[in-house]
């Protein structure tokens, strides 16, 4: 897609709060946008390095809790007479902390778990998310457990005599859109760099990647750190938007939602998580609006998912791309490229 087209699209999206006055729709767009950022971060791991992290929501949740706690302040008793605490800090600072903490967690998990690959990594990532959820549920002094952290402040950016508040939906929508564009640019630059080439190489054929001199583990860790930090940032956005956070944020279904967005949109493509995110973020709301029974809504959602995966196994974006390129090529009388077989080990 050309740069101009993208700019027009972004400008169009930025103009949404001007003409969309129904806050309910704006709310749907905001939540969808936050999930798209999370899905994009997952795509960096799943799509570009080929590692399926089924615990991705852990980074999202860690970001959400970190940001909430830093902005609210906390005090915990670690030993009978040792207390660790922190006074409330500005929200923008809390969000940066959330990004950093999630990134550090990603580093630790990457270092630990990339000794194992494939199915074992999937298991490690699920277990990690579950452990974090149990901590959030049971460390009541820090997290309030199931009582949830509430009254989380909204983001305000203050300059001299001028205060910008992101309490209202139109402003928050623009914030999410900005973050989405920033994350997109970061990922695009990363995957088109030397590091990105290395990640794709190791996804396609790990032993071959090693034999051309790629430090496989190092790039896996880089991808995990960036991915985790981005997911943490998305979690922080979510926290300061919803303004309440409880352990349910670590539910497995959120990871599944992100995976569905990435896989249906097209893993390993830049636009894939956005397309998948728009479809699976908005479809449930559209179905809800149709005033059909909830059971039927979920069935329709499931059927749609099965259809996409069945007919477009590589995802929506690659399907469109190969359709476009086959149309471009057809007049020249060249054979349409057949998708190569997956590399065997």
């Amino acid at each position: 897609m050309s740069r101009l087209l993208v700019s027009i699209l972004v400008a169009l999206l930025a103009s949404v709060p001007l003409w969309l006055t129904d806050f309910y729709y704006l709310h749907v767009l905001i939540v969808t946008g936050i999930f798209i950022v999370a899905a994009m971060s997952l795509n960096l791991l799943l799509g570009y390095t080929g590692q399926l992290s089924l615990g991705h929501v852990a980074f999202f949740g860690i970001g959400a809790y970190t940001s909430a706690l830093v902005s609210l302040g906390f005090e915990v008793h670690i030993l009978p007479d040792v207390t660790v605490g922190m006074a409330p800090k500005p929200v923008w600072f809390a969000m940066l902390c959330a990004t950093a903490v999630a990134g550090l967690t990603g580093y630790a998990i990457g270092k630990l778990s990339f000794r194992v690959r494939g199915a074992y990594f999937v298991i490690v990532s699920i277990s990690f998310a579950e452990v974090v959820r149990l901590v959030a549920l049971n460390w009541v002094e820090l997290t309030q457990g199931p009582m949830a952290l509430n009254n989380i402040p909204a983001l305000t950016l203050g300059f001299d005599g001028f205060e910008l508040s992101f309490l209202r939906k139109p402003a928050f929508y623009l914030l999410v859109l900005t973050m989405l564009v920033v994350c997109y640019v970061i990922i695009a630059r990363l995957v088109n760099s030397r590091a990105g080439r290395a990640m794709i190489a190791l996804r396609e054929n790990e032993s071959l990647a090693m034999s051309v001199g790629i430090d496989v583990t190092r790039y896996l860790v880089v991808a995990t750190v960036v991915s985790a930090a981005m997911a943490g940032m998305a979690g922080a956005l979510y926290t300061h938007y919803i303004r309440i956070v409880d352990p349910d944020i670590f539910l497995f279904i959120y990871t599944v939602t992100m995976v569905i967005m990435v896989v249906t949109g097209g893993k390993g493509t830049l636009a894939g998580p956005i397309v998948g995110g728009v479809i699976f973020g908005i479809v449930p709301e559209v179905l809800r609006g149709m005033e059909i029974r909830p059971e039927v809504q979920w069935i329709a959602y499931g059927v749609l998912m099965v259809l996409v995966v069945y007919f477009l196994p590589r995802g929506i974006v690659p399907a469109i791309e190969s359709y476009m390129s086959s149309r471009r090529r057809a007049p020249k009388g060249e054979a349409v490229a057949v998708a190569p077989e997956a590399p065997q080990q």
């Binding site: 080439r197 290395a198 032993s207 034999s211 001199g213």
Partner: protein, 234 residues
């Protein structure tokens, strides 16, 4: 140039290579022949660092590389062209070649090498923007060889270069490998097609169940009665 001393490699409890010692002299084309499971591929993997040997030592140009990483070994000048003509299927021909010089930083020289590769392999030039997975078997093999050459190796390891290729392509592949040796790059090649390998090599080693059974010039091995009956069918 390359010397293995009592190399031992294990997969778990199975010992695949049971103490092999061999030498590859500079400028030679050395063949490693033997049946399936003789330990040929394992030996190559140990040399290129894709596998950690359990014992013995590997010395390249006076440097002990027994426990070195694949990255380090490549930067010392050993390229590995793995079995089954592995390419990165969803990358274009050009990107595959770029991966071959991943460790090189000399951009100008790389551009020259690209031109040379495309000159040497005109089929690849025609298909430089095509995904490698869509190439024919022979083209993929050419690409794998070209990619290995892009790192400007001093020693290049070929693992079963003829595997699964049409006979005319096999011949062409062997010509290319001989050409690489003639251009001054040392070659260590594992090959099941024993006759062809023995005819083209300067020196050969025969492996049998993880141990060295015979060594000598290609001609000597072709003349050996054991080799004749077991590997050259009569």
């Amino acid at each position: 140039m390359l010397e293995l001393r009592d190399l031992v490699c294990r997969y778990g409890k199975v010992t695949a290579v049971k103490g092999i010692s061999l030498k590859v002299e500079r400028g030679q084309l050395v063949a490693l022949i033997g049946t399936n499971g003789a330990g040929k591929t394992t030996t190559l993997k140990a040399v290129s660092g894709l596998l950690q040997p359990a014992g013995g030592s590997i010395v390249f140009d006076g440097v002990d590389i027994t426990r070195a990483s694949a990255r380090k070994i490549l930067s010392l000048g050993i390229a590995h062209c793995p079995e089954g003509r592995h390419v990165f299927p969803y990358m274009t021909v050009e990107e595959n070649l770029e991966m071959g010089c991943y460790l090189r930083m000399d951009k100008q020289e790389i551009a020259g090498d690209f031109d040379r590769m495309f000159e040497q392999f005109p089929r690849l030039a025609e298909r430089r923007q095509q995904q490698a997975g869509t190439l024919s078997g022979g083209e993929q093999q050419m690409l794998a060889i070209a990619r290995a050459l892009m790192s400007r190796p001093k020693l290049i390891l070929f693992d079963e270069p003829s595997l699964g290729l049409a006979p005319n392509i096999v011949e062409r592949t062997f010509d290319i490998i001989t050409g690489i040796r003639d251009a001054g790059t040392t070659v260590l090649m594992v090959e099941q097609n024993a006759l062809a390998a023995l005819e083209m090599c300067d020196h050969a080693y025969l492996l049998e169940s993880g141990a060295l059974a015979l060594s000598g010039s290609g001609r000597e091995l072709v003349g050996n009665p054991h080799v004749r009956s077991a590997y050259l069918a009569g």
